[in-house]
Amino acid sequence: MKAPFVMMAMLETTHGGWSPLVWLVVFAAACGVALWIRAIGRGDSRTGGASQKPFLSGNDLADPEDARVAASNMYWGFTHALRVYYRRVMAFHSGSLADSILWFLVVLAMLLLAGRVA
C-alpha cells in the first residue's frame, strides 16, 4: 500500500529526481510531530533577571552588537586553513573590470577546450 502523497508530481533528472510536494507534506507532518513533543515539555519560563542575560561567564555584555560575529570573520577557520590559496586568489581581484572579463574569457576557453577533449 502506498501513501496518497507518494503519488504526487516528480522533478526528474536523467539520473535521479525528487518530489518537492512529497517532501513538503512529509516535512510538515514531521514538524507536527516535533511541535507535539515540544508541547509535552514545560512551557513556562522566568522573565527578567540574570537568567535571561546571555551567558558570558559572569561578564556584562554592554552592547548586544558585541555578541555578533563580524561578516569579515564569518568564515574564519576556513579562510585561515586555506590562507595560502586565498592569498593567491585575492591577488587576482584587482578591482578592474577589464581583468575580470579577461579571467572570464580564460576560464570559458579552458571549459570549451576541456569539453572538446572529453
Binding site: 539520473h15 518530489s19 510531530v33 522566568r46 535571561q52 551567558f55 558570558l56 568564515y75 576556513f78 586555506l82
Partner: protein, 330 residues
C-alpha cells in the same frame, strides 16, 4: 481513509523509531566510551532520562534573542532529521518508505538542514559564545560536505557507468552493492571511501574530534549555550535521529546486505532477521566512527577541522574516486 491512516502512521512510526534508536545508540556510545576510559559510565537509558528531565525544565528565552527564530530552530532541526529517514533504507523495511520520491542528492541537502537550524538558532540566541559556535558549525559544515559529496558522486557515477537506471537512488545503491562491480583496484578505492565516510560521520554529528562548535571547555556549549528545557531536548532528539540516519546512510552505501539474501527464511522471520542485522551494522559503524574516535582523540581546532576535511580526508576521497575510475578503465 486507510491511506491517510497509513501516512500518519508512517510519520509517527518513523519519528519514534528514529528517536528511540538514536537515544539507545547514544546510551551505548556513552557506556562504551566510559568503559574505554576505565569509568563505570551512565546506564543505557540515561539519554532518555536526560530528555525527560529537559522537557520538565523551563525553556528560557535570552533577552537579546530573536524569539520566533530561536524557538522554531529546534523544531525545524528535528523535523528535517525525521524527514530524512523516509528516504533511507532502514533494515527490515528494505527500500525507503519514499522509494523513488527522493535521491541521494536530496538526502545530502536534508542532512544539512539540522546543522543549518542549529546555526540559525545559535545566531538568533544573541550570545557571543553561541554566535562563535554557530560560525564554527557553518565552517564545519562547509568542510565535511566535500568528502561526503565525493563519496556519493563516486557511487552514483559507478552505477551510471554500468547503465543502471536512477543511479542516485538510495534504493538502487542498496540493491546493487558497489563491491560486486569493482576489481582489486576499485575495491581499494571503496575501502578508502569507507574510511572517509567513517570520518565524515563525527563531523556531521558534531562529535569529538569535530565538536568545536560546542566546545564545552572554551565556549561553554557554544552553539547551544543559550538553549534550555524543551528546545534543548528537541536539538538532542534531532541529533539522535541524525545519528540513526548517518548510520543508515553508511549501511546503504557500504554494507547493504541482508540476512535473507544469504539464508532462505520465511518472510516475517527474514524481515526481523534483516532488521536486527541492520541494527548490528549501524551499531558497528557508529562504534568506530563515533565511540572509538571520541575516546581516542581530543578536539581539533576549527582551522584543523578544515585542513583535515579538505586536505587529507578530501584528498583521500578523490584518491578513492580515481582508483575506482582506473579500475573501470582497466
Amino acid at each position: 481513509m486507510a491511506d491517510v491512516f497509513y501516512s500518519i502512521l508512517c510519520v509517527f512510526g518513523l519519528a519514534f523509531y528514529g528517536i528511540f534508536l538514536g537515544l539507545v545508540f547514544s546510551g551505548v556510545d556513552r557506556m562504551v566510551v566510559a568503559r574505554m576510559q576505565s569509568r563505570i559510565g551512565p546506564p543505557l537509558f540515561q539519554p532518555f532520562f536526560d530528555v525527560l528531565k529537559l522537557l520538565n525544565k523551563q525553556d528560557m528565552l535570552p533577552a537579546n534573542a530573536v524569539p520566533g527564530i530561536f524557538r522554531m530552530a529546534p523544531v525545524v532541526a528535528l523535523a528535517a532529521a525525521v524527514t530524512l529517514l523516509f528516504y533511507l533504507p532502514l533494515g527490515g523495511i528494505g527500500a525507503p518508505v519514499l522509494e523513488g520520491r527522493g535521491d541521494a542528492i536530496l538526502a545530502l541537502y536534508l542532512l544539512l538542514i539540522p546543522g543549518l537550524a542549529m546555526v540559525i538558532g545559535g545566531f538568533a540566541g544573541g550570545s557571543p559564545y553561541a554566535a562563535i559556535g554557530a560560525q564554527r558549525e557553518m565552517v564545519t559544515m562547509i568542510s565535511y560536505e566535500l568528502p561526503l559529496a565525493t563519496v556519493i558522486l563516486t557511487f552514483a557515477w559507478k552505477l551510471a557507468s554500468l547503465g543502471v537506471a536512477q543511479p542516485f537512488s538510495l534504493g538502487v545503491m542498496a540493491a546493487q552493492p558497489i563491491w560486486g562491480y569493482v576489481g582489486l583496484l576499485g575495491s581499494l578505492g571503496v575501502v578508502i571511501l569507507f574510511f572517509v565516510m567513517l570520518l565524515v560521520t563525527p563531523g556531521e554529528l558534531g562529535r569529538i574530534p569535530f565538536d568545536s562548535p560546542e566546545a564545552e571547555t572554551e565556549l561553554a556549549g557554544g552553539i547551544l549555550v543559550e538553549y534550555s528545557g524543551r528546545s534543548l531536548a528537541l536539538f538532542q532528539l534531532a541529533m539522535a535521529v541524525k545519528t540513526v540516519a548517518m548510520g543508515a546512510l553508511m549501511v546503504t552505501l557500504f554494507l547493504p546486505w541482508n540476512v535473507s539474501g544469504w539464508i532462505a527464511l520465511p518472510a516475517p522471520v527474514g524481515a526481523v532477521a534483516d532488521f536486527l542485522f541492520f541494527l548490528v551494522k549501524v551499531g558497528f559503524l557508529l562504534f568506530f566512527s563515533v565511540s572509538v574516535l571520541r575516546a581516542a582523540m581530543a578536539r581539533l581546532r576549527i582551522s584543523d577541522v578544515v585542513t583535515g576535511y579538505w586536505k587529507w580526508i578530501g584528498s583521500a576521497a578523490v584518491v578513492g574516486l580515481l582508483l575506482i575510475l582506473l579500475d573501470a578503465k582497466g
